[in-house]
Structures are given as structure tokens and as C-alpha cells.
Subunit: 262 residues, 2 copies
């Protein structure tokens, strides 16, 4: 990285920035500007409220049109992060989840290491007023929290993106951390992980393990957070799929059992 | 610093944030919000374009009214920094001055050290579109530049304040650097320094050293930058005043000489 050419953008690719249900086009634009300030250009939008493209985003981007032009639309967070191996969820609040949390400086160093090892990663930001819902946070490996005045810590969307991007940019000259993966497998990506969640959770429902549907969402979130923390490899997920299939295999589903017996 | 009380602001005082000729009230408000995010509350305004107080600033501050309420107005930068001993000038551009420059992370560590030693300090930001003029930069010890994408490095005012404040906030748990001052004097504050500049420059004009008035501004800036770099003590400035007075003392002023001889 030259780092001294003042005539053209030094885009590095860098981590994906995923905005979940952004409300105002202006905020998408100012977030894109903050991204380009920091050499980031992989913008992913999940269900922007006012549709896409959005002329208000262009006006607010102050010249960061290249980022907006490359932005990709997704129907849900799961699709937006399918190709990523490491996902951070930006949130200011403590959600009382059992979940690893880091500050942006550590996240930046980790992401430099991931990308140096060709492991795609990204940071997910929630809607302006409400932030990420717990189900979205459960899809992330790690919570990312900006340490600020505890009594006044609320940042707007572009400012949160800027702090994360700034730390990413400034970490560029530090040596990439080494990440060793043992064995012949590789870390699973999020698509593989969520496919396992689907299989596992469907099996749990079918098995009759969860009798009260009201309890499912929080139980599933807790299980997802647990499996996220283990950072499974692709090989391990295949094994886990086999375990679930094996458990469910020969017997008829409980629901059908009841149906047939009545 | 407790750092864990989520119910009230943890204001630390911290460095002064000086906004020179801010144009839009909104930007003063968002800058105040960024300050409070980072535990800063010493806001100083030099000739805000639309007067003060400004209701648009309050609207944009999103609750950081306490910072706006304490903000102080000044007629010029010199007055705004009179009580400070260490001043940073935030600017993205290279002004071709012989001047020390630092990134926000180093500035934050330095300011933690200064304040731990009871040496007031501050960061000066220029008007939104044009930035600081060279004469204002010449009043600062050090240039502060946010390292960003060289091809797209322009930040808005609140974002620049946020990055500086964020680094200040995050440096809070690092040990304060030690700053040793030798002898019985103390570092001069900016008021003392600028009084010396006035004396010195008046003497230069009176002495006939600068025959072409057009050349004065840049020469004076260069001299100011030179004396800033030396970080004079209060005792040294008194000595320098004496030197200037001694040089100029007994003889009549050249202008008067010419007047009398004609």
C-alpha cells in the first residue's frame, strides 16, 4: 500500500459494511462517505426502508458515489453475510447474551488478520433508532461496541461506521496477526453455519423437544450463540449435520405420530 | 473514573474544542454531541457566522445541551486559546509550514499527559469548507491530521471532532505520560506567547527590517512557527521581551527618523 498518493482513492476492499433496514437515504449516503474516507467499498444493504437506489443517498454521499454504485441489496441479514466467515454486530447496548465482545481497535486488528488469510469478514449495523434485533446479533460471532461516555454513548449511523472504518484504516501498517487453522478443513462460512442452524432447529421442533412455541425464539438464539462461539469448521458442520440426521433418521416425526394415532 | 455507570454522563473536562468561524448551527450542534460522546465539555466558539446562541445547534445536538450551554464566545482565536499551553490545529492539508504534525492517537496520549500535569490544551478546527487559515495554524504548536484514504479524506466538522474525541476517550486508561520541565519556570501559555509575538513583530516593523509590507504576513507566520516549535517557558519569554526592548530601546524609531529628517 503506497499510502502517500494524494491524487486517487486507495481502496483496499476491506471488511463488508452491512446496514440492516436503514431508514433514511441520507444516512446511507453519509455512511458510504465514511466508508470511502476509510478505504472501504463493500456496502451491503438489507431491506432499506425507502428502496434502492435512493437519490437522497447520492446527495449525502458527497462524492462517494463509487461506494453507492457498488452497493448490493439483500432480502435478509442471512443472505447478506452468507459468504463471510467472521461477522461483528455493532451494538451499544448490553443484550445479556453470552457472546464475545470487542472494541473497534481489536476488531480492526482481527479483521486485518482475517483478510490477510483470505477469510472474508464484515460488520453489521442496525436501523438508526432501534439498532440490531437480537436475532440478527445471534448471527454474528462477536459484538462490536464503541467505548464512549457511558452516559451519552449514542452515535448516528455514519459516525459508528466512521469509527469502525477509521480503526480499520489506521491498523493498516501493523503486521497482520497470524491465524492458524489446524487440519485439512477450513472455517465454515455463515451460509454453511445457518444451514446447519436450520437443520438443527427443524429437527428440534420435529422431535417435540420444544413443546411451547413461545420458548423457541430465545432457545434458538441461545443455541446459535453457542455454536457461533465454537467457530466450527466446514468439516465439523458436516459431522454435526450427520449427528442430527442420525438422531432423527429412522423414526417417524412426533407430529405425524400423533396425527396417525388419532 | 468509574467508567461503568450507565445512568449519567462521565464528563472529564478534557481538552478544549475550539471552532473557528463555524458556518452552520447544525454543525456546532453535532460537534457538541460528538464532544459529549467522548466526555468533552469545553466548547469555544470564535465568531460563529449565524451568531450565538443558535436554536439550530440545540436541535442538532441531540441532547448535548449541557455542552452548548457552557460554550464560550471569543472575538478571535488568540483570545480563545489565551489560557492554553498546548494547541493543536486540525487540518487535512499540507500547508508547507515547518511545523510538527501528529495523528489523533498521539495527540490524545500527549493531551492526557498535559492535563495530568495541569497544562491546559485544546484542538482548533476551522470553518467547514475552507478549514483553518495559515495565520490561525501559526498560533498552534502542532498540526493534527486524521490519517484517512488519501484520495478521499475530507471529514465533516462533527466527524473530525468525533475522531479526535474518540482517541482522547479511548486513551483514558493508558498511563499518563510524564512531562519533565527543568528549572523554576513553567511553559508559557498562548497569551504570553502571542504578547511576545506582538512585541517582536512591532519591533521588526519599527526597526525597518521589513521594507515591503506585502512580505510581512508570511515572514511573521514563519517566525511564529519557529518560536512555537521551541515551546518557550514563561521565563524565556521574559528574557526575549528584554532582548527586543534592549535592541529597540535607546534609538529613535526609523519611521520617526525619516519623518524628522524630511
Amino acid at each position: 500500500m503506497a499510502g502517500t498518493d494524494h491524487n486517487k482513492p486507495q481502496l483496499t476492499g476491506g471488511p463488508a459494511i452491512v446496514l440492516v433496514e436503514p431508514q433514511l437515504g441520507e444516512n446511507i449516503g453519509t455512511a458510504a462517505r465514511a466508508m470511502l474516507n476509510c478505504g472501504l467499498d463493500d456496502l451491503r444493504l438489507v431491506r432499506p426502508r425507502d428502496g434502492w437506489p435512493n437519490p437522497k443517498a447520492v446527495n449525502a454521499a458527497s462524492g462517494a458515489d463509487s461506494v453507492l454504485g457498488k452497493a448490493r441489496l439483500y432480502p435478509d441479514l442471512r443472505a447478506a453475510i452468507a459468504d463471510l466467515r467472521h461477522v461483528y454486530a455493532a451494538t451499544a447496548r448490553d443484550r445479556y447474551m453470552v457472546k464475545r465482545a470487542v472494541i473497534p481497535r481489536l476488531a480492526a486488528a482481527e479483521m486485518r488478520g482475517y483478510l490477510a488469510a483470505d477469510e472474508p469478514c464484515g460488520v453489521v449495523f442496525g436501523p438508526e433508532r432501534t439498532g440490531l434485533v437480537n436475532d440478527d446479533i445471534a448471527l454474528a460471532d462477536t459484538v462490536l461496541t464503541v467505548p464512549l461516555n457511558p452516559g451519552f454513548s449514542s452515535l448516528n449511523l455514519a459516525q459508528a461506521v466512521l469509527i469502525v472504518g477509521y480503526e480499520w484504516f489506521i491498523a493498516r501498517e501493523e503486521p497482520a496477526a497470524e491465524f492458524l487453522h489446524i487440519g485439512h478443513s477450513r472455517p465454515a462460512n455463515k451460509d454453511e453455519l445457518v444451514r446447519f442452524f436450520d437443520h438443527f432447529e427443524e429437527a428440534l421442533v420435529d422431535s417435540g423437544f420444544i413443546r411451547h412455541p413461545d420458548k423457541r425464539p430465545s432457545l434458538f438464539r441461545n443455541l446459535r450463540n453457542f455454536f457461533q462461539r465454537a467457530s466450527p469448521t466446514e468439516q465439523e458442520l458436516r459431522t454435526l449435520h450427520g449427528v442430527v440426521t442420525s438422531f432423527m433418521g429412522p423414526r417417524a416425526k412426533p407430529g405425524r405420530d400423533r396425527g396417525e394415532s388419532e
